[in-house]
Structure formats: C-alpha cells, structure tokens
C-alpha cells in the first residue's frame, strides 16, 4: 500500500504541451507513471509524447478515465485549472505552479471543501510512491521503496532529506510535498490522516517551516491520534521576522509563526525534533532502532 498515488493512478497533465509540462511529463512517463494523456485547450485531437491531448479535463475523463491531474499551467491561470479539475470530479489534483494570487486560492479552497477531491499544493514538488508512480517534479533516482512517509512544505529540502534517508538504507512509502503557499489544499494533518491508515508506513518525517500554524495543529493531532514515530525539522530558525523567505507562506507576522515556537509545541507533543538539517536521516535511524 501507499497513499494518494500508486500504479493504478490514471494521470493527466494540465499544461501538457508547455515547456515545463512536456519536460516533466516525459520524466514521469520514463519513471513508469501511468500518464493517460494531457490537456491543452485548443490542441485537442493531437498526440504529444505518444499520448492523446484533450481540450478539457472533462474530455480526458470521458475518454481515458483519468482520476489524477498534475497542473503545470502559469500561475495566473492555475487557480482556474484547479477549479476545472475539481469540478470534473478528479479525485487527486496536484498543482505544481508557483505564484498563484492568494485571493484566487481563497476561492479554490472553499470550493474544494464542497467536493470530495483532494488538492496537493500549489507551489509544491508533488507526490511520489517509489516504484509505482511519480506525480511531480522530484528527481526520481534519490528515492527508494520503503516504509517512511514524508510530508513537507518545501521542495529541494525534501530531496535533501529523502537523500539522507535513502543513504541510511531506508526507503519511502510515499513522499508528499504539500507546498509553500499560505493557502494550500492539504496540510500536515490531512496527510497524517492518510499515513495513519497506511500499513506500509512505519514512521513519518515532517518538514515544516516558519509561518502559519499548521505544524502546531499537526502536533496536537499526532499526540491524540497518531501511533507511529514522527520526526520533524522546521526550517527558518534563523529567518528575520516580517520577511517573506522565498515561499509566499514562509513569513513571521504579528509575532506568530516562529520556528522556535513550532519546535517547542512539536516536542511537547512527543515528536522528535531535528535541529540540524544534515541530521534528518541519522536521527530517523536512531529513533527507529531504539
């Protein structure tokens, strides 16, 4: 088992024929992800990367039974692309696009709440279940099949963490990049709820960062409902307040969102905290062999 994406996922790519969409679609196909087609309005009927192109998500669902969509369209249109996928009943929507205006995401988030779709992202690296499906932009070769679940607000920091975990001889069940924006489809708690039911996942690595309070919410959830070991790293321990640290969501405002406070709450609720980002893999190993 695994969560979210697996070898049975029927994946379409929104923004299929664009530069980013094409590059990553071919990488995903190469990995073995079951890409059943793509969507680019106006290019329906064509073939791209040996897969059919559709004008709308609806056509892709009718013709190919797509149930997962990954979005690469430019930020200013990405909110609409998510709405289209959700409106068509796609079960899992993964939005890679970075830079969606916050007020667009306000609408998306509340519409999403009225449906059964799951949104991962935006501004995220996507989801990978090693040896089954890569629905994202992460470098495949660092991943290894295994029993560690990963949830992260970051992209490249997650790759670095995965690399450390693989180097310790441990693999991943599923790695989920939830995104670095202030408003995202799924937060730590949403993904923890999936990992708690996943028999294959034995422990979870959480990578949080400054801004917001979703790490604190996760800490309380873990204490009450999560019976597997969790280790966590919070980036931005040295970030100055009031500055947006690259990610739109990584900002300390009004005295809230400090890494220190998040680490304290996590620790108080029984989560293993890693202070040094180079020791995520080794700490995990230590916790699991105890």
């Amino acid at each position: 088992m695994s969560i979210l994406a697996n070898k049975n996922s029927r994946v379409i790519v929104q923004g299929f024929t664009g530069k980013e969409g094409s590059f990553h679609a071919s990488q995903m196909i190469e990995y073995g992800t079951n890409i059943v087609g793509g969507v680019t309005p106006g290019k329906g009927g064509h073939t791209h990367l040996n897969k059919p192109v559709f004008n709308t998500v609806e056509e892709a669902v009718i013709n190919e039974g797509a149930n997962v969509s990954i979005i690469f369209v430019p930020a200013i249109f990405a909110g609409d692309a998510i709405l289209e996928a959700v409106n068509t009943g796609i079960e899992l929507v993964i939005c890679i696009s970075e830079g969606i205006p916050v007020q667009d995401m306000v609408k998306v988030k509340h519409y999403l709440n009225t449906t059964n779709s799951t949104l991962i992202g935006p501004n995220c690296p996507g989801v990978i279940t090693p040896n089954e499906a890569k629905v994202g932009i992460m470098p495949a070769h660092i991943h290894k099949k295994g029993k560690i679940g990963i949830i992260s607000r970051s992209g490249t920091l997650t790759y670095a963490a995965v690399n450390q975990i693989s180097n310790q001889g441990m693999g991943q069940s599923t790695s989920v990049g939830i995104g670095g924006d202030p408003i995202i489809g799924s937060d730590f708690v949403d993904i923890l709820k999936l990992f708690v039911k996943d028999e294959e996942t034995e422990a979870v690595v959480m990578i949080g960062e400054i801004g917001g309070s979703m790490e604190e919410k996760a800490a309380i959830y873990i204490k009450k409902h999560f019976n597997k070991p969790v280790i966590a790293f919070i980036s931005g321990q040295t970030a100055p307040p009031g500055r947006r640290m690259g990610h739109a969501g990584a900002i300390i405002t009004g005295g809230k969102g400090y890494a220190k406070e998040k680490m304290r709450v996590l620790k108080d609720n029984g989560i293993h905290i890693v202070e040094n980002p180079a020791e995520i893999g080794s700490t995990l190993k230590k916790v699991l062999t105890r």
């Binding site: 980013e20 990553h24 930020a75 200013i76 970075e98 830079g99 969606i100 205006p101 916050v102 007020q103 995401m105 306000v106 609408k107 988030k109 509340h110 690296p125 932009i137 992460m138 470098p139 660092i142 992260s152 607000r153 970051s154 992209g155 490249t156 920091l157 997650t158 790759y159 670095a160 690399n163 670095g180 202030p182 408003i183 990578i207 960062e209 917001g212 309070s213 790293f233 980036s235 931005g236 321990q237 040295t238 970030a239 100055p240 009031g242 500055r243 947006r244 640290m245 690259g246 990610h247 739109a248 969501g249 990584a250 009004g254 005295g255 202070e275 040094n276 980002p277 180079a278 020791e279």
Partner: protein, 387 residues
C-alpha cells in the same frame, strides 16, 4: 509590495474612502505651497516604508508657516531608524502635508487574509492609534473580527455587526458601512495583502476619516495590476534586493559573512540554519529558484560577491527542476569573469550531479566541492572565521 502612505491615500480617494485634505511634497518650498493652500495647523509626515515614524520624529504638527518651514527642513533628508528599518535607517525623500483635523475618537480597522481559515478577515477595534498586536495581546476582548466567506463576499450584516460592537451611533453606522464596503472593494479588486487604517478617526462633525493608511499588495497578483506596479519605490528597498528582483532571484540581505546561494526557499532557510548551528553567520538568504538559467546563476553570484562582508561563498544546490550541470557551468563562468578571489564551497546534488561535479573538478578553479551538506557547512564556517 509596499507603497507609501500618500499613495495609499490616493487609492483611498479613488475608492471613496475619506482622507484629510493634503498632498505630497519633495522640498520645503513645496511643503509651504501646500500648507498655505490647505491652511494651518497642518501635519507634516515623513514618507518611508516603515512604521514608528512618529516616535522617530518624522511626524510633526505645524501651527503656523514658520513651524511648517522648520519641520520641513528637519524631516526632509532625515533618517528614520528603528527595528523595522535596520541600523542604516531610511532616508526621508518626501513628506505628506495634510490639514489638521479635530479628533473625537480613534478606531482601528484592517483587512487581511486569515491563512488558517483561508478567507479575508476584517479586524476592528476601539483602540485606534495603538499597536494592534499589543491590544490583541492585552485586551483580546477589544478586538472584533468578521470573516468574509468568498461565496457571500462582504455583506451588510458584517458591517452592522461591527458597527454595533464599536458602539457607533446611527449616523456613524451608515458612514462606517459605506467605508468598510469601499475598503473591502479596494482589498478585493487590487489583490491587497493588507489594508489598514490606524487610526480611523471620528471628528467633531461626526465624519469618519482615514488619518493613516497602509496598503500592501500580493506580489503574485501584481501582473494583473500594472497601475499598482507603477507605485513601486525602489529607493525604499535594499539595492542588492532590487538588483536580485530584476533577475527573479529571491534575495534577502542579512548581517553575516557567509554568502549563500541555494535553490529552493526551504533548503535556503535550512542552509542558513545549519550555518548558525555551527556558529557561522549567513550574509543573506538567496533562493535562485526552480527553473534557473546560467545567466541567473551568474547574476546571483555577482550580487553575492558585491556584498563586501562576504568572506566565503556557500553554494548548496539540490537539483529537481534545475539541472546541476547548468548550475555548475553558470558558477564557473561567473567566477571566471568576475575574478572571484574568496573561497567557494559548493555542494551539487540531484539531476546530473556527476556531470556537474566533473565540470567543477575540471574547471581548474580552486573550488571546494563537497558531497556532504554537513561537511560543506562546517568548511564554510571554518573559512568564514579564519583570518
């Protein structure tokens, strides 16, 4: 993006939100011209992108022409220094000259996005003129909130509920409702990230006037609003950060001596964290982004070494979207053309990492190439503390 108070007030006027009569001035002559026109007493307010201007002596009430002249001379050209501005402070290049008003009561009102609830929230309080964070801490019961669901938008009941909580009389309630509606319209139409009036005053003639105005915008939405983009004042930004933004590099200047070049915001923060963990001091946050090109890497390198505090450069790249061999050649070309003579520690992992390391090794440049993040961090700290 931040704008000046006078620009925010121009926007307020466009959206029917009352502001005091006044205008912006760049010289003392302009100050007197405006003051003579609107009459005395008048208020002269320094226009910089920072709060705490009053405490820093940047806001003065002039009772007559002599005082107006004296305050104009004092304020124009002064440096506003506080926690928000850093040690250098911000030079005052212009002032807002406004007609004095009779204040009976001071309210607070703001609109922001509440990220947990994922909707805009109106925050109102009777404690106008105070730091709202302090009020929230000491007297949370004096702060009133209305969350605006995107399905309803702002509706009349929101305004009515707030105006009763604020204890406004019938006439004030009508004016208040209209003002809040206009404020929400501005927030919504212009993709603001914050609209704040502190204080919103009630005058002796029962008018409601925005005595101060703060409007920030969502950077991600600026492409939709060319009018707003035109309000940017690069004098208010760090010159390194302005240069970086031209190449879509995310750069934030800090006070240390280890220049950092990293791809991805999370890894960039973690790189700062590990340097601090080993008692080093990062000189900056720099995220070169996902789909980066050789040119951008080169510009990033230029900005790093232009900071004279930097004693060592730490490059930490994990390639997902970005190919590390492109980063390697970008760095090599930049180092060659810029004659870099400080040590460079470089970690390249991910897509095409073997080719990347080969490019570095064969460059003939004296780079310290590491595979291990920890070792590289320790090496950078060691080089930054040695003489």
């Amino acid at each position: 993006m931040k704008i000046h108070e006078y620009q925010a007030k121009e926007l307020f006027k466009d959206f029917g939100i009352p502001v005091p009569e006044g205008s912006v001035a760049h010289t003392k002559e302009e100050v007197l011209e405006i003051a003579d026109k609107i009459g005395y007493p008048c208020v002269i307010k320094a226009q910089v992108h920072a709060g705490g201007r009053g405490k820093a002596g940047g806001v003065k009430l002039a009772k007559n022409r002599d005082e107006a002249l004296r305050f104009a001379e004092e304020i124009i050209g002064m440096h506003i220094k506080n926690i928000q501005t850093g040690v250098q402070g911000k030079k005052v290049r212009k002032v807002l000259v406004e007609k004095g008003v009779n204040i009976v009561n001071e309210l607070y009102i703001a609109l922001i996005i509440d990220r947990e609830k994922a909707m805009p929230v109106i925050i109102a309080s009777l404690e106008g003129g105070m730091e709202i964070e302090k009020v929230a801490e000491k007297h949370p019961e004096r702060i009133f909130k209305e969350y605006i669901h995107p399905v309803t938008g702002l509706s009349n009941f929101h305004n009515i509920r707030l105006s009763f909580k604020l204890g406004l009389n019938k006439k004030q309630r009508g004016i208040f409702s209209k003002l809040v509606s206009n404020l929400y319209k501005l927030f919504n139409e212009k993709d603001a990230s914050i609209v704040e009036i502190n204080p919103l005053i009630i005058t002796n003639t029962e008018e409601l006037i925005a005595l101060d105005a703060k409007v920030n915008f969502d950077d991600n939405a600026l492409v939709k609003h060319s009018d707003i983009m035109g309000l940017r004042d690069i004098h208010e930004e760090d010159p390194f950060e302005v240069e970086a933004s031209r190449y879509e590099l995310n750069y934030i200047k800090l006070d240390g001596n280890i220049g950092c070049m990293v791809n991805g915001a999370g890894l960039a923060m973690a790189t700062m964290d590990i340097l601090k963990y080993y008692k080093g001091e990062p000189a900056n946050f720099l995220d070169v982004g996902g789909g980066t090109s050789e040119e951008r890497i080169k510009e990033a390198f230029k900005i790093l070494i232009a900071d004279k505090n930097v004693k060592v450069v730490f490059i930490n790249i994990f390639g997902g979207i970005v190919r590390t061999d492109i980063v390697a050649s970008g760095v090599i070309n930049a180092a060659r053309s810029l004659n870099v003579n400080i040590p460079v520690v470089i970690v390249l992992r991910g897509t095409n990492e073997k080719q990347a390391r080969k490019i570095i090794d064969e460059s003939g440049l004296n780079f310290i190439s590491e595979i291990d993040f920890k070792k590289a961090a320790l090496k950078s700290v060691e080089l930054s503390t040695g003489d």
